[in-house]
């Protein structure tokens, strides 16, 4: 076969390839709201979750189910779950969503690494729910015992509390071996790690839903040593609602943020006062609308109960506590991972959190007679095998 060697075509194909490459590189500039004064209220928003639909996010699903978003003038609210590969703060920076749920230390890391600007507009969880769980007798009952041990963590920014807690104890992060664990608790059960990371509201319950081969019954809390990071200097703020800092200058977006927070606050208040119902709403949303496969209803109720404990710490809903924020920043600055890297090296910008919007939302709700700082009365949840 004779190949024709037409130069023009080659040039054309090279040009086409270059054009495609360039087109792929240049992302369209984010549209910035420039109009001031009167504005068209935003009626459609997207909220990015940091994990799969479960009672951890009950307040948002309740707000959707109970029509709280509609009450605040939103026609459509799209709650986008993450399978772990969507990083909420990245989705927010990219403009894929309007608001995002993410842990404070993870976002602080992203902000410093990328120079993006996001604002924590509501601190939903006031306390850290992270645990380090080990079998009793393995000698890992406090952070100071971590040295020389094999410590499990999910990675992806979930490990910084471990390093911050170790830094506060003057432990060298290279003295432990941090092992990436998957999202089941098999690493601990199989003895691959000495202590596994667990959230009070999810993995801790999961392990208590497993049958102990020694007794033939479910594992009991007494079978384990539990380090709660909330009790250490490594405690960091977790689930927070984030908004795009630059976009907040747009009055329409700022207004939407306040209305969004009002609906969300009402959702979490509902979850506080009706944990059983809120867990059921979330479970139903997960299995129906989201086509997800949550762990069964009992597990969701446990989760709802534990999550409420983290949210209702005595103060009003969602306000960023200056002391807790400073503790998080201090921990983030002190934490050095096993590769000698810091999470952040400088204090975050002042714009990294703002109580303006949540305060406005709370004031408006309080004016309507809503109790925004009630206490939560924990309920008793008896776990079952497999949580079903």
């Amino acid at each position: 076969m004779r190949h024709s060697t037409r130069r023009g075509l080659t040039v054309a194909s090279v040009a086409a390839a270059t054009a495609i490459a360039l087109a792929a590189c240049s992302a369209p500039a984010p549209d910035t709201g420039t109009d001031t004064g009167d504005f068209e209220p935003i009626t459609s928003i997207k909220l990015q979750l940091q994990w799969l639909p479960q009672a951890q996010f009950a307040g948002y699903y309740v707000a959707l189910d109970q029509g709280y978003f509609e009450d605040e003038g939103f026609d459509t609210v799209d709650i986008v779950p993450s399978g772990g590969d969507i990083v909420p703060q990245d989705a927010l920076v990219a403009g894929d969503v309007d608001f995002a749920v993410a842990w404070v230390p993870k976002v602080l890391g992203t902000l410093e690494a990328t120079g993006a600007e996001l604002t924590d507009i509501a601190q939903v969880y006031q306390k850290s729910g992270t645990l380090q769980v080990s079998f009793k007798g393995d000698g890992v009952s406090s952070v100071s015992d971590f040295e020389g041990k094999r410590i499990g963590s999910w990675g992806f920014g979930n490990e910084w509390e471990i390093f911050a807690a170790m830094a506060a104890e003057d432990l060298d992060s290279t003295s432990v071996s941090i092992t990436t664990q998957d999202f089941s608790m098999n690493a601990l059960l199989d003895g691959d790690v000495d202590a596994a990371q667990a959230m009070t509201y999810n993995e801790w319950a999961q392990i208590l839903e497993v049958v102990n081969p020694a007794t033939g019954k479910l594992y009991q809390p007494e079978d384990f040593d539990v380090v709660s990071y909330e009790d250490t200097d490594g405690a960091m703020l977790q689930d927070a609602l984030w908004a795009d800092t630059k976009r907040l200058e747009d009055p329409a977006y700022a207004d939407a943020a306040v209305r969004f927070l009002k609906a969300v606050t009402k959702g979490w208040i509902f979850a506080r006062d009706n944990p059983e119902q809120a867990a059921e709403i979330t479970y139903n949303a997960a299995i129906n609308a989201e086509a997800a496969f949550p762990v069964g209803p009992v597990h969701q109720l446990w989760q709802m109960n534990e999550v409420n404990k983290l949210i209702w710490a005595g103060g009003p809903f969602g306000l960023v506590d200056q002391a807790a924020w400073d503790k998080t920043v201090k921990g983030a600055l002190a934490a050095v991972n096993q590769d000698g890297l810091n999470l952040i090296t400088a204090e975050p910008a002042d714009s990294a959190y703002s109580n303006t919007y949540i305060q406005k939302a709370l004031d408006e709700l309080a004016a309507d007679g809503v109790v925004v700082d009630g206490a939560y009365t924990p309920i008793d949840v008896t776990l079952t095998e497999g949580g079903q």
Partner: protein, 298 residues
């Protein structure tokens, strides 16, 4: 007829052998695996040479099958097999779209590269390099472009289209290479014959090159089908698309400690998915039987 019956029997025997091997190893193998070089008191040291056989690592086959017929997530949810089948069909549909895009793009590239050698020199290295880009790095990029296109409003770009495009990215490669090799496969003597007939490019393409390319094309299509399925499953996980088998696998695997048999449901689903995809391509081969004389008996 007896030959096809024998084929079915051998196939069933193969599946049975896997099942027996699984249960036999589970029965004989060490529950906590065999680790060599472990240092006492140092968790996780040593290298595991025999995998664990406990019920978390290797559930019994009957437990896995029984789990398929139990409620998916407790409560009133339907048996696990229902969402598994639905999710597998969803993924199959997306993979099919990805396969079609991949085959179209791959065939076009193959044709262009065969027609102009400069195009082959210019494109082939890039095509090879394209397959070394990790899918998990590439997937969020496509998803992001897709969501920006969708938000721009002129062209709708649903999430599944991103998944299909990512699947096509894996699928086009074997087709491009297969078509190129296939079109170049006719013997010199046949090409010369065409030239003595004063046949131009197009008649040569349709009467000689394309028929000759079929034996190269069919394995390429089958590879593309397998790649499209893998690509679709990985892409679903990467960009967080709901409803497919990939997302289901990840979700159920997270519950593996307390419900170890559950993740095997979608695993079986994806196996069935791959078989159906490969089987469908075999049907294409049946239609092109006349052009497959050069191939070994299939």
């Amino acid at each position: 007829m007896s030959r096809s019956r024998a084929a079915i029997a051998w196939g069933a025997l193969g599946v049975l052998a896997v099942l027996v091997a699984w249960e036999l190893y589970k029965f004989l193998g060490p529950a906590d695996g065999l680790i060599v070089g472990a240092v006492a008191g140092e968790t996780g040291s040593g290298v595991m040479i025999l995998p664990r056989t406990n019920d978390r690592a290797m559930p019994h086959i009957w437990d896995m099958v029984a789990r398929l017929f139990q409620s998916a997530s407790g409560g009133d949810t339907p048996p696990l097999i229902v969402p598994v089948v639905t999710a597998a069909l969803t993924t199959l549909g997306i993979a099919a779209v990805g396969w079609l895009i991949g085959v179209a793009v791959g065939a076009l590239l193959g044709l262009v590269m065969q027609r102009w050698r400069l195009a082959e020199w210019g494109l082939l290295p890039w095509i090879v390099v394209s397959q070394t880009v990790p899918l998990i790095a590439f997937a969020p990029l496509i998803a992001s472009i897709g969501s920006q296109v969708d938000r721009a409003g002129t062209v709708p770009w649903p999430q599944w289209l991103s998944v299909a495009v990512i699947a096509s990215y894996l699928a086009f490669f074997p087709v491009a290479v297969g078509v190129l090799r296939g079109l170049e496969s006719p013997d010199r003597i046949h090409l010369d014959l065409m030239r003595t007939y004063a046949a131009g490019y197009w008649p040569t393409l349709f009467r000689l090159r394309l028929p000759a390319a079929v034996p190269h094309l069919l394995p390429a299509l089958r590879l593309a089908a397998a790649n499209a399925v893998v690509g679709a499953v990985v892409a679903e996980v990467s960009i967080g698309m709901r409803g497919g088998i990939g997302r289901m696998l990840i979700q159920l695997a997270g519950q593996g400690s307390s419900d170890p048999a559950a993740p095997w449901g979608p695993t079986f689903g994806s196996i069935a998915l791959g078989l159906v995809a490969a089987g469908s391509v075999a049907l294409v081969g049946l239609g092109l039987r006349n052009y497959r004389r050069g191939e070994a008996a299939v």
